[in-house]
């Protein structure tokens, strides 16, 4: 599971208060890096939907905050800063959590990540 996906997912556990559904906490036990081709326009487009604070926190939770240094806020003229776009591309698309868990901040429910696939399926008693 890549950090772009983490930035899109929320917890749907029944007992979770609405303001705690997003973001999910991360406990990563195996992380890999894999270079992929940059599409600058895609990164610029997706940034309008990315929760920047959540991305910074996620990078910290997987222990990459020293490797990837990102500013506290997205600069206004981001499209002129190719270095930063490359870093964001790396953070969103090139880091993959292979084994670990996502943790619902409202209930503590853990969602397993196995073979890079997050298991967001709920049990009967957790359904709304």
């Amino acid at each position: 599971m890549k950090l772009i996906t983490h930035n899109m997912l929320e917890s749907r556990v029944k007992d979770c208060p609405d303001d705690k559904r997003f973001p999910l906490g991360i406990n990563a036990t195996k992380v890999i890096e894999q270079k992929v081709v940059l599409n600058k326009q895609f990164i610029i487009n997706i940034l309008t939907k990315i929760d920047w604070e959540v991305l910074l926190e996620a990078i910290k939770q997987i222990g990459y905050n020293e490797k990837i240094e990102l500013p506290l806020e997205i600069p206004v003229e981001i499209e002129k800063d190719d270095d930063l776009i490359m870093k964001i591309h790396h953070a969103l698309l090139e880091i993959e959590i292979i084994e670990g868990e996502l943790i619902c901040q409202g209930t503590g429910r853990k969602f397993t990540i196995k073979e890079g696939i997050a298991n967001m399926l709920l049990n009967s008693e957790e359904l709304k």
Binding site: K49, G116, E125
Partner: protein
């Protein structure tokens, strides 16, 4: 505007015009065809169609996407018989000839017989009869393998009144021209399931999934989601055209590549893969699964993620918007449609937090109309404006335009059909989001028409259940209309 001639592949006729329109929309191409409305409603009756396009560049762009176009030609002369065509060509002015001879050194001539099979001998003779065209005088050389320009003579034998008896068909029209570009029919072979690393019992044939990708306007940099991705065949096609793709499914075994398949396709694929260049280079950790299949096609950079999600309890946060949502929902014709069960009897005694990672939650069947309602409302919430929802829907032959599911946020663009059996018709529905979803408007949480009533007559489905064997009665009820 310039006039061009399109030669279509003679298959999946109801999909031809919607695909053409989508390809034009993708590149913002203005086009004109005669009887457009009639063609949209009834489909094409012959494989040849005149089209007005701004320039050759537009024809090349359309061909870079269309699966059902064989080629697009610039026609120099056309007539009712070969003899009158020759007369017409001989009368061409010097200017017209020099236009025909511009910008190339090598050429070849192909003869295409549409609607009839003729011998090689006939083809050779026809080409010989065209030798009066002053190619040599203009220093052009023939090259069969690497011609810069392909000239064509198209013999149109197509006769809708002689659908089966091809030998009875006589020539209707003859065209002579230059091929501008070829369509994408060969994608069918380059994405063939028998060479694909990971497939399942219900993996969609490449031709069908490329049609979905075109209807979804998949293009570089767009974000496309398939909520019932299975082995990701539709996403693979979208990704081929440059889209970034995200998939989810409820089936643990499919996503984790644990399926043990008995399908013929899978057996054939297993044999082929032994001799496949890609698989021979695979290392031990590159097992056949969805991610590695994207790697096989060198599209890993556009594969975002697949996740285990129950679509009816999906977990995308509100702000997330996709450029297109595509799917072939599990209607129970092949794979049963399931959602997580709320049935208390299925309660497990374990705490959720200590369940093992490969715990399989209880699932239950969900009706097709409910599934479609979920899909459309989800799409209303999670598509960009002008974004498209493209999905397959099984119907009966009695299903008509008025039965299509409608929602305030959507406009229906196409509903092409493919006959599966005498009473089972599969439709590819294309909807465009035209209005923002309003969370405070209760009308946006339901469909305009009540598709629950369609169950028996218009929407064909036979849910597979484990306990009951084949039930025939349900799907056989006849409509009273007509």
């Amino acid at each position: 505007m310039n006039k061009f001639l399109i030669l279509f592949r003679w298959e999946m006729q109801p999909f031809v015009i919607p695909e053409l329109i989508s390809c034009c929309e993708m590149f913002d191409i203005n086009f004109q065809i005669e009887n457009k409305e009639k063609l949209i409603n009834q489909g094409i009756q012959t494989p040849l169609l005149w089209i007005n396009l701004p320039d050759e560049e537009s024809a090349i762009k359309i061909c870079s996407r269309a699966i059902l176009i064989r080629a697009i030609y610039k026609i120099f002369s056309d007539s009712e018989t070969f003899e009158t065509l020759v007369e017409d060509l001989q009368k061409k002015s010097e200017n017209e000839i020099s236009e025909m001879m511009s910008n190339f050194n090598s050429y070849r001539i192909d003869v295409i017989n549409s609607g009839k099979k003729l011998t090689q001998k006939h083809t050779v003779e026809t080409i010989r009869k065209l030798s009066f065209i002053p190619f040599e005088a203009n220093h052009k050389t023939v090259s069969l393998k690497n011609a810069e320009v392909n000239f064509v003579l198209i013999n149109d034998f197509f006769d809708p009144e002689q659908p089966n008896n091809t030998s009875a068909r006589s020539i209707k029209h003859v065209y002579f021209g230059r091929q501008i570009s070829m369509g994408q029919g060969e994608l069918k072979a380059s994405y063939s399931l028998t060479e694909r690393l990971y497939i399942g019992n219900t993996t969609m044939a490449p031709q069908l999934s490329f049609l979905v990708a075109n209807q979804a306007l998949a293009k570089p940099g767009t974000l496309i989601y398939d909520p019932f991705c299975g082995t990701a065949s539709i996403l693979i096609s979208c990704s081929h055209f440059g889209s970034y793709v995200m998939g989810s499914d409820i089936n643990y075994k499919i996503l984790h590549a644990m399926i043990n398949s008995r399908s013929k396709n899978v057996k054939r694929q297993k044999i082929n893969l032994k001799n496949n260049k890609y698989t021979q280079k695979l290392s031990a950790d590159q097992i056949p699964n969805i991610k590695n299949t994207f790697d096989q096609y060198k599209m890993l950079d556009r594969f975002l993620d697949i996740s285990l999600v129950d679509f009816t309890h999906n977990c995308w946060r509100k702000q997330i918007e996709f450029d297109a949502i595509v799917c072939d929902p599990p209607y129970g014709l092949r794979e049963g449609s399931k959602q997580l069960s709320e049935n208390k009897k299925n309660l497990s005694d374990q705490e959720p937090t200590v369940r093992s990672s490969n715990y399989f939650p209880a699932k239950q069947q969900i009706s097709i109309p409910s599934l479609i309602r979920f899909l459309i409302i989800f799409s209303a919430q999670h598509l960009k404006i002008n974004g498209r929802l493209v999905f397959w829907l099984p119907t009966t032959s009695h299903f008509s335009y008025k039965d299509l599911p409608r929602h305030f946020c959507f406009e229906i663009l196409a509903y092409s059909h493919q006959n599966i059996t005498s009473n089972l018709v599969r439709r590819l529905i294309t909807m465009k989001k035209v209005l923002d979803f309003d969370p405070n408007n209760s009308k946006h949480y339901k469909l305009i028409n009540d598709i629950e009533n369609l169950n028996q007559n218009q929407m064909k489905f036979k849910i597979k259940t484990k306990s009951k064997s084949k039930s025939k009665s349900k799907s056989k009820s006849k409509s009273k209309s007509n």
